[in-house]
Amino acid sequence: MAETVALEIPARPDFLALARLIVAATAAADPLLPEDRIDDLRLAVSEACTNAIEAHQRVGSEQSNIRIECRLSPEQVEVEVRDHGAGFDPDVLVDHPPATDPARLDHERGLGIPLMRVLTDEVEFRSTTDGTTVRLVLRVSAVRRGR
């Protein structure tokens, strides 16, 4: 049986810290998640919320809310971030030049999704022209296996 905690915030940078607060506190309810994994999830969710907020800004709908839903089950902690932006194609993203290439410094952006992918066990994007839902999963078993 999954338990759900949901937070709705205005699509504004000021409210990001609230999303981090609730995700960290909810995930901490799982006694099997070590603190560093909670930090990973917190950052991944924060990145997803940042993208959601920026997506709202691009279509001028800072007034509408984004929704962060945390689901706790014995196997995993799952967080969904839902926005009402214009959507995007997650398969068409710019790659960065390697870190050793001087041109790397021309790229100040584009690290959010790569971070989400490394920090969590599963990332899924469902995006339409009505908005995007990002699903981030931390598996408790992956933690137990000493991941």
Partner: protein, 130 residues
Amino acid sequence: MGTRCRFRRPSPVQEPPLIDLGLDLVERDGWAVLVVSGEVDVATAPRLRERLIELVNRGHHRIVVDLVGVEFLDSTGLGVLVGALKRVRTHDGELALVCAEPRILKVFEITGLTKVFSIFGSVDEAVGAG
């Protein structure tokens, strides 16, 4: 991260103790001093109640409840303390509270319970006055 472990969910494996309520017993000058820390609400008050009942049942009828380390106390917590006072009184005992934090004292004041309880600023004063 100050937000960690405010609550715990049921888990398939054995659960670590909840960390949001601390209950430590010290005996002093014939008083049982129960040092409470954390948040006392409907989630944690049952543990406080049980502990106080257990103390009385084990023959402790002079009890100090030290609330100095309590960050949050709601009406459920007040109810538990009222119940404990009644219980020690039926044994001709005493129950004193230690509380210094204005935020917590305020809850006793606006409910009129400062007239019901003896409230002291320190454990020393509480056991000295007894």
